[in-house]
């Protein structure tokens, strides 16, 4: 039985190999690699996209969490995969940083961008009984080193978000040192327990703690106010200096994907990201939608790469 099946499989494979053009993509399951752990924001958004994309393409989409190394392992896996459209991946902000900090040569040029679907600005939080932004920066200036900030690892987007606030206001980044942590949850716990004074992270990540009355947002490093938090001023409104730092997520494939496969995927993703179900999901979880098609996504990453490189150099983390 097994043997017969394998023979049949071998025959089918030979036929397929002989005439790949006749095969209608997709004709089998697609793997979607998520470079972050199950349960996080990237995983949650990746899974909803997989569920909706499955309906569009009519083939199962398997979500695979390839975690570790601050996302490097999963990102590497996506770029190494066969560019046949059967391995896709969610790529995230960190991709713009690896080659600048020198931990991995990976960059956006190793991927075929398909669609950007999410971007959330970093925001600055203090304890609910903490100072406002002017008092906070005055304290940093008056007593360099006394205010500690956290949010995620060293040289991540959260770190940049905070360092940018300091640099654009003519304060040296080491006046309010960055305490590396494993992520926003750990940092918010440090803030609530009184061990540090500032946390930089995105609004959806801190939402429960804000609602709990434990912490409050001061400013958001965005070009305009965020719809879900209309009371929080942008960095420019509060301080007069332009500064924006967005954490983003998008779908990409390995480089040199065939054009016909790319067409099928970009069309399907367009329908998925603009669907009511997706919009409703993102709204409920307070994630911002920033949809850009393949070309728009490519341009976005080119810009992000350059500006993040500049910011990393300013903080002294670029190699």
């Amino acid at each position: 039985m097994t043997f017969l099946k394998t023979i049949a499989g071998a025959v089918a494979l030979t036929v397929l190999a002989a005439a790949p053009a006749f095969a209608q993509y997709p004709d089998r399951a697609i793997n979607l690699i998520v470079p972050w752990g199950a349960g996080g924001g990237t995983d949650a958004t990746g899974r909803i996209i997989a569920t909706l994309l499955e309906k569009e393409l009519g083939q199962p989409i398997n979500v695979i969490n390839r975690t570790g190394g601050g996302g490097i392992v999963g990102h590497t896996e996506i770029s190494y995969a066969e560019p046949d459209g059967y391995t896709l991946g969610v790529i995230t902000t960190e991709l713009s940083m690896y080659h600048w900090t020198g931990v991995s040569p990976l960059s956006f040029a190793d991927y075929e961008p398909l669609a950007l679907f999410n971007a959330d600005p970093e925001a600055v939080f203090v304890r609910a009984d903490g100072p406002d932004i002017m008092e906070l920066l005055a304290e940093v200036k008056a007593n360099p080193g006394s205010i500690k900030a956290s949010g995620a690892n060293l040289g991540g987007m959260a770190h940049l978000g905070w360092a940018g606030v300091l640099v654009t206001n003519d304060i040296a980044p080491d006046a309010a040192p960055w305490v590396p942590s494993e992520g926003s949850a750990a940092s918010l716990q440090l803030l609530a327990s009184g061990a540090i004074s500032v946390v930089a992270t995105t609004l959806p990540d801190a939402r429960p703690m804000v609602d709990a009355g434990e912490v409050k947002p001061l400013i958001v490093a965005a070009t305009e106010r965020v719809a879900s938090a209309p009371d929080v001023p942008t960095a420019e409104e509060a301080l007069g200096n332009k500064w924006s730092a967005y954490a983003w997520r998008g779908i990409a494939a390995p480089k040199s994907l065939p054009d016909d496969v790319k067409m099928v995927l970009t069309d399907a993703l367009n329908k998925v990201v603009t669907s009511d179900e997706f919009v409703e999901f993102m709204k409920q979880r307070n994630f911002g939608i920033d949809y850009r098609d393949a070309a728009g996504f490519e341009a976005f990453m080119t810009d992000a790469d350059a500006s993040i490189g500049k910011a990393l150099q300013a903080v002294g983390l670029a190699k």
Binding site: T2, T6, G9, A29, P180
Partner: protein, 150 residues
């Protein structure tokens, strides 16, 4: 292992050397800008502790060598070696042959070296690997390798 040198002492020396190697490797790990504690600190602590405990184990093994049980079970058996070789073979072969084929061969081999007869190996192996294959790929959605028979 020779009678005069107890196995605990050998193991202790191996650990001590390995610990020293960890410490040596960690010296290259320097703190990043703005960090007080570097990534090399903990490996250095662990490596040193391993070296110290390894040395103590080596001495302890030597001191208590007369107390060693003489009839310790034989460590290296044909069966244990067979299991290791079979797993290595699966690692090498599965990406090409896929899970169904290599899993069946593997199961049959294990049944045989475990003392099972040919008939049970022939009946059991394809059924077990097919059941596991479909349970994982269909019900649990773990994409197992299809291989060239895909």
């Amino acid at each position: 292992m020779s009678k005069s040198l107890p196995f605990d002492s050998i193991l202790g020396v191996v650990f001590a050397l390995f610990g020293a190697a960890i410490v040596q490797q960690s010296t290259g790990l320097q703190p990043l800008a703005g960090m007080i504690v570097g990534p090399g600190l903990f490996p250095t602590i662990v490596g040193s502790a391993m070296a110290v405990f390894g040395a103590v184990l080596a001495v302890q093994g030597w001191v208590t060598r007369t107390n060693q049980p003489e009839n310790a079970p034989k460590l290296l058996t044909w069966f244990a070696a067979g299991v290791v070789v079979a797993i290595i073979a699966v690692i090498l072969v599965m990406p090409y042959l896929g899970f169904l084929v290599s899993g069946t061969l593997f199961a049959a081999l294990i049944v045989l070296i475990s003392g099972g007869n040919w008939l049970s190996a022939l009946i059991f192996s394809p059924i077990a690997s097919t059941a596991i294959f479909y349970m994982f790929t269909s019900a649990l959605r773990v994409p197992l390798p299809h291989g060239i028979f895909g």
